[in-house]
Amino acid sequence: MNAIETTKLTKYYGKSRGIVDVDMTVMEGEIFGFIGPNGAGKSTTIRTLLGLIYPTSGSATIFGKDVIKRGPEIRQEVGYLPSEVFYYDDMRAIDLLRYSASFYNRSTKAIEKRIRYLADLLDLDLKKKIDDLSYGNKKKVGIIQGLAHEPKLIILDEPTGGLDPLIQQQFFNLLKEENDKGATILFSSHILGEVQKLCDRVAIIKEGTIIEVEQIKTLLENSTKRFKLETVSAPDAAAFDIGGVSDLAVAGHAVSFLYRGHINDVTQMLAKLDLADLLVEEPDLEEIFMHYYQKGDGR
């Protein structure tokens, strides 16, 4: 069965559009990425799935159950980490986590054990008051409250903001662990690199509609990278004439171009050059979306 299925899900905030006719299917057991620029409608979609806001039209089901009609029942199996975490300032971390645990039909002992395990892994002092925690640490609390009850569906809304790289890695390992155990993950982000690392499939949303749903492999193959390099001696422009190179610019010893294709092909080409410096940049989101618009036009 599909973990999540939306049918023409639409939400207007008064006159301004949130999302329009979103059809999305997340299969059980996959890690599904949801990317788009700010304001595209990622959070709107997620919040509708959770019953925090109500759709203007259309519907959605989680594990086959309608999200509005059977919301509380569904959420027994869902773990949610919002993009901005706000908790009750008067509580300590452990208090908040126990309070969170009390909502689920699981053995409190099991959840408590899991809380401690996760806190240890993420390096979080459970005895500190929420008010005294830094933003990153509050996010850790968020991660734990989303995972402690071992949910079958984990929904993450831009989860890595505020986390240092080491903890981020821990977090991704955790997610992979859960996924190996069979959990489905919906991961929304505007950081392409993260999505590429974790997800099996990804949906791209822009201005309220889903533009594309791709396998990550395809995305990787199709993604453009910008190469900037400096050579020791003046380069021969013909050397860069391999498939996939575009927007080539040579100025003295500095060369810049866009490359789309297999990484190994371009690195073999670069290996033949006498390099002084090399910089490879991720495409920014605009470039990606430009690509997808072009692709749409080309059909």
Binding site: R47, L52, Y54, Y80, Y87
Partner: protein
């Protein structure tokens, strides 16, 4: 249940302070009553011959100030106002705080329906209101009997206290309704207390001008007016029914609107 207990804990200091406040009000009021008693006897005759407007201006309507219970009746209005402020704020804050503090994404993404959360919150509020009411009752009995040397006032005090409970519940329910309706969580407590304040003004107006008597249905303070209660010794059934209706409709409305609207982020 967890939400119920959490709300009680979160409001613990508040409930204590309000209780202390009300006890102080009652105790201070009755404690000095003795000094006033010296001028007691002749006052009643004179005051009753005063024109109505003057009586109202001094808040004396219908009380026998020579007795402790009469004096308590005057004091009662202030107790009622304090309790009304507490109840309005409590009702509004309990419901709106999740959106105000942005914790709604935590709480309402949990496997509970909004209705269940509301029930827990309303029950917690009810508990605190009853606590405040009991505190008022006990300190009133004590103050009137021992500090004020009054006797035979207990049945009056009981009547007034029950009336107070209705009053508290009405403002609590209205506060909750306002918070359930309104999208801006910060506006809820202001709006709820403004409503309370307006009804208080209307109460005063109705007392001042007999021709405005028809307005009495607009102000809960008139439903359980101390003077009327002590004079007749019982509740006016019309007012009681109205009170119950208002409480019931407000609570129903709270559930209806809060469950159906988007949560403010």
């Amino acid at each position: 249940m967890n939400i119920f207990l959490r709300e009680l804990k979160a409001h613990r200091t508040g409930t204590i302070w309000w209780s202390v406040g009300i006890v102080s009000l009652i105790a201070a009021g009755m404690a000095k009553y003795a000094a006033y008693q010296a001028a007691g006897q002749s006052v009643t005759d004179m005051l009753s011959s005063l024109p109505r407007t003057v009586q109202v201006v001094f808040g004396l309507t219908g009380f026998d100030l020579a007795t402790a219970s009469g004096f308590y009746g005057v004091l009662f209005l202030y107790i009622a106002v304090m309790a009304a402020v507490h109840a309005s704020l409590l009702g509004a804050n309990l419901i709106s705080k999740e959106e105000r503090d942005r914790t709604s994404e935590f709480l309402y993404a949990k496997p509970i329906s909004r209705g269940r959360a509301l029930t827990a919150k309303l029950l917690a509020g009810l508990t605190m209101i009853v606590i405040l009411n009991l505190v008022t009752y006990v300190s009133s009995i004590y103050s009137v009997n021992y500090l004020g040397n009054g006797t035979g006032a207990d049945s009056d005090i009981l009547l007034l206290t029950v009336g107070l409970l209705f009053l508290q519940l009405m403002f609590f329910a209205i506060g909750a309704l306002v918070a359930g309706l309104v999208r801006k969580p910060k506006a809820a407590p202001s709006l709820a207390t403004s409503i309370m304040f307006v009804t208080f003004m209307v109460f005063y107006l109705v007392n001042l001008d007999a021709s405005l008597d028809f307005l009495k249905y607009l102000t809960p303070f008139k439903y359980f007016d101390a003077a009327a209660l002590m004079a007749t010794g019982q509740f006016d059934p019309v007012f009681v029914v109205l009170a119950v209706a208002i409480i019931g409709l407000s609570i129903f409305g709270t559930y209806r609107f809060y469950s159906a609207r988007d949560l403010t982020v």
